[in-house]
Assembly symmetry: C2
Homo-oligomer: 333 residues x 2
């Protein structure tokens, strides 16, 4: 029997400030023989997501830190290549959390069967996966917009933001995105159908938002925190809602304050942080809607695909700097 | 017919930073004869409340600024002394918003009849008035504590804070107050029955709170903002709620940031600002409960009484500096 090599990327060290390539280490290990009851999956795609940056830090967060010396955490989709478990057949497509590696082995738990016929496999890492449900939850359960209201979302061309904006349009809202650069802003307006998009790299986010949201902001889906959040807060209408989904601006430990917290009182705002994995009760409903819209082409999405496991660290660093365009995945096969 | 003089305090100028006595002006006017349909009330007590500080500023707030040259806004309780309105009789006790003056005249609108037999008249400005309902709303509609949780409230000996803490105790919570000075803290623990009280004037609010809330904080009722809010946020448990009721620390225009906004995400907090006058639907239920508890002595309260309209400016400045002890009122008769 020939040995199969599994390539893996470990967290080598915790970042001091910005993430660098030497925070990661690529290793090759020999896969052990499959035990009775086990399933082996060849991962086709690895998901790269901003939350991973938080896990790389040691310290208080909503989840345990990623241990140094272990395989980096991450969502994957792939295909069963060997099974000694009656519930799984070779050829099944599965989603899992196998992390940054080419193969995953499971006792059958933690696997979700996915249908790759109507929707491409990689989309289960994005629009019909965790990012899609994240957008769905924040919009429907926190922002709860009604027709005619104005919804703003940052990181608008990304995996989460693009879902938030498109769903908000379906609610009859005026939808304004915030994205970095003219190309992303064009995509957000012309392809995704947002009413307007503010290019934060052009400076003066507040002025841009004011022009794009002349009636003020009723719901803000925050993927970034920092000065962008401050600008949105200034323009929030009375009884506005803010869904706090990400704080990418603060991941590297730079001081990140909220400049105008008294606006929470003055404008009677509701500001709520959430983690979608703690609301599993909405996943079936959300994935049902997102899957239907994606399969029929009514929910658009875009992917940045990095080739090969070895490209994951640079792709991840690029993601944190906004270099990706749409959902960042790594193609592993 | 003899003329009746009405003494009034006007806003003379807007504060530049801290409020000073010369921001106010006492004037005497002759009351015009009562017209058909009108009611005249002799105000017995004037309420002084932190929200008035916000109104003294010009600029964005939840209410129009107090106009310069007009009678300062404020809640009052008093007695009908003349009536040409069939709905109101001489001797009726009424609550109203007549502001900083000795007499009020109304066409009958804006008056609430109150029963001064079981509850002292001044309590309708506090525990069974706007401050009481404020505490009731923030606790029951935003913090929604369950038995065994830990609730923290700042300005704990004040009109709002004392209601929040006593109601939270009735919910079976561990209740921790924050107040200024040993005397207020003793009152909060020994008289109001809180489990603990942190003296912010002794410094190290964070350390004090950590010791007083060993299981962390589930609900924080914020009357002050600033560093006290920052300290509470650090100790909030996952899914904690913060009711933002006041930001007294920021009224004088000092820069007031939120130091750790990423905790909203990390701890999945819900932070909500509110103004009780926008939730009139809860007043009957809240006042019913508060009135029953106050009349039977199960809800304790304390008042600081300033004597005479002319004492109102100094009493108000003292309130903003925390010099009052319990609900600050001005006795006008």
């Amino acid at each position: 029997m020939t040995e199969t090599i599994n390539r893996q990327i470990l967290l080598a060290s915790r970042p001091q400030g910005a993430v660098t390539p030497d925070n990661f280490r690529l290793v090759e290990t020999v896969l052990p023989p499959l035990q009775d009851g086990q399933v082996r999956v060849r991962n086709h795609f690895l998901s790269l997501d901003p939350y991973m940056r938080g896990r790389m830090n040691d310290g208080k967060s909503y989840a345990a830190p990623q241990p140094v010396g272990e395989v980096m955490i991450g969502g994957t989709v792939g295909e069963v290549v060997a099974s000694r478990n009656g519930h799984w057949q070779v050829g099944d497509h599965v989603g899992a959390m196998f992390g940054w590696q080419e193969f995953g082995t499971s006792d059958g738990s933690g696997l979700q069967k996915v249908d790759a016929s109507a929707i491409p496999l990689s989309a289960y890492l994005g629009v019909v996966g965790m990012p899609g449900v994240t957008g769905w939850y924040g919009l429907n359960r926190i922002l709860k917009p009604v027709a005619g209201e104005t919804v703003v979302v940052s990181a608008a061309s990304g995996a989460v933001g693009s879902v938030v904006g498109q769903l908000a349009k379906r609610h009859g809202c005026r939808v304004v995105g915030i994205a970095g650069g003219a190309e992303k802003c064009s995509y957000v307006k012309d392809e995704l159908g947002f009413d307007a998009c503010v290019d934060y790299k052009a400076g003066d986010v507040l002025g841009g938002l004011k022009a794009a949201a002349p009636q003020g902001i009723d719901g803000y889906f925050d993927n970034v925190g920092g000065p962008t959040l401050d600008a949105a807060m200034v323009l929030m209408n009375a009884f506005g809602r803010i869904a706090v989904c990400g704080a990418i601006a603060g991941y590297d430990g730079a001081p990140l304050v909220m400049k105008y917290p008294t606006l929470i009182l003055i404008s009677r705002l509701k500001v709520e942080g959430f983690i979608v994995s703690e609301h599993m009760e909405v996943w079936p409903e959300a994935l049902g809607q997102l899957g239907g819209l994606a399969a029929s082409g009514q929910l658009k999405y875009r992917e940045s695909v990095a080739e090969g496991l070895q490209s994951a660290p640079e792709a991840f660093i690029g993601l944190l700097k906004g270099r990706n365009f749409g959902k960042q995945v790594v193609k592993l096969i």
